[in-house]
């Protein structure tokens, strides 16, 4: 399965400044969203993991979208990510 991960609001700075990541899990058909997040923390994010994950979920202030809609509409972190899903992580902005 292939998953597209989108990062915005500055989160891309934690991930090599890349806003779009293609992740492939050749041995899986689906993956719990929580596992994807921990996979990202352990494999894509090199340092300062606490800016992305706190208590085994995304830290407060990050909005997660599943195919362009709020993850809360799909069960939040309990969602099972499927082939070709796009998961977006948006750090909310506060400046003005």
């Amino acid at each position: 399965m292939k998953v597209t991960v989108d990062l915005s609001g500055g989160l891309e700075l934690l991930f090599d400044k890349k806003k779009v990541h293609q992740i492939e899990f050749s041995d899986k058909n689906e993956i719990p969203l929580r596992e994807l997040i921990l996979y990202m923390r352990d494999n894509l994010l090199k340092e300062r993991a606490e800016l992305f994950v706190v208590d085994n979920t995304v830290r407060p202030g990050i909005l997660v979208l599943i195919n362009d809609a709020d993850w809360e509409l799909f069960g939040g972190i309990e969602y099972n990510v499927e082939d070709k899903d796009t998961i977006t992580f948006i750090s909310t902005l506060h400046g003005g």
């Binding site: 915005s8 609001g9 500055g10 806003k19 606490e50 800016l51 706190v54 830290r59 407060p60 202030g61 990050i62 909005l63 979208l65 362009d68 809609a69 709020d70 809360e72 509409l73 977006t88 948006i90 750090s91 909310t92 902005l93 506060h94 400046g95 003005g96």
Partner: protein, 288 residues
């Protein structure tokens, strides 16, 4: 009195002349212009977002515009804050922006509040307005504005910007979600980048502030379908791509707008967020 022709609107000839190109716009019309000319909007923040928001709302003809800002104009503001002038350096931003507005549209009443928006001042200021625009620059103020809007039952047009990016949505509108429904817990202080650290471009706040003004106009003119409630607009200026995404509705368990709220009056948001009502100041801890 003696006129045979009874006009079906309350606009005077100055207003008709000034707003002619706007009141012929579909879904505004004379009725929409009358609503605009009777509306009262509070803009919190007279900075990068507040300038275009206040300018476009004032030129559109809102009746009363309130502007809250404790800060004064500095030269380093002028690259993005187009409602201030060099000659206003040192002048309170609320006053400077109000003066600019009066020179463009003298029909608008502008109230200035040269104060920090706090738990003590917020409710008293907000009660005089129909709609609140969040053009602030820090986390604590954003939670404060949200709760004050929920407690006083006013819709909130929220915008934010940093570097090349921006976000816009409308909270607490027609039973839609509030800020806490989406973000129940404030972000860790270390994860918040300020414009003074990360920078921000003028056209980015120009786009976001203009979008906030338009959402406010839609709310005033009762164009309910179009209002960005339950949706979030995400803007990436570098790639020139916008996305309008669906977000959750009002959450029954929300601590302020839910069915059994635990927040029933304003709290200390600097403590809740561990940061100050000001971008310039650092964390609460730093004040010691």
């Amino acid at each position: 009195m003696s006129a045979v022709y009874i006009k079906d609107h309350s606009l005077n000839s100055n207003e008709i002349e000034r707003y002619s190109r706007q009141l012929i716009t579909p879904d505004i019309g004379v009725q929409g212009q009358m609503k605009l000319c009777a509306s009262r909007v509070l803009v919190v923040g007279a900075g990068g977002l507040g300038c275009p928001v206040a300018l476009y709302l004032a030129t559109a003809g809102v009746s009363v515009l309130g502007i809250v800002d404790y800060d004064t104009v500095e030269i380093s503001n002028l690259h993005r804050q187009i409602g201030h002038q060099e000659s206003s350096t040192g002048v309170p931003k609320a006053v400077s922006l109000a003066n600019t507005i009066k020179s463009i549209n003298s029909l608008v009443t502008v109230n200035t509040y040269e104060t920090t928006f706090t738990s003590e001042t917020a409710m008293d200021i907000i009660k005089n307005y129909d709609i609140v625009v969040d053009a602030s620059d820090n986390v604590a103020t954003r939670y404060l504005i949200n709760d004050a809007c929920v407690l006083s039952k006013k819709p909130l047009v929220s915008g934010s910007a940093l570097k090349w990016e921006g976000q816009v949505t409308v909270y607490n509108y027609e039973n839609g979600p509030c800020y806490r429904c989406i973000f129940p817990t404030p972000p860790p202080v270390d994860t918040v980048t300020k414009c003074s650290d990360g920078g921000v471009l003028g056209p980015i706040v120009g786009v976001i502030g203009s979008l906030q003004a338009l959402e406010t106009i839609k709310i005033i003119t009762n164009n309910k379908e179009g209002v960005l409630s339950g949706r979030l607009l995400i803007y990436d200026g570098m790639s020139a791509v916008f996305r309008t995404v669906r977000i959750r509705g009002r959450q029954p368990h929300c601590s302020v707008c839910g069915d059994n709220p635990t927040v029933t009056q304003l709290i200390d948001y600097t403590e809740f967020c561990r940061s100050n009502y000001s971008e310039a100041a650092g964390k609460v801890d730093d004040r010691v």
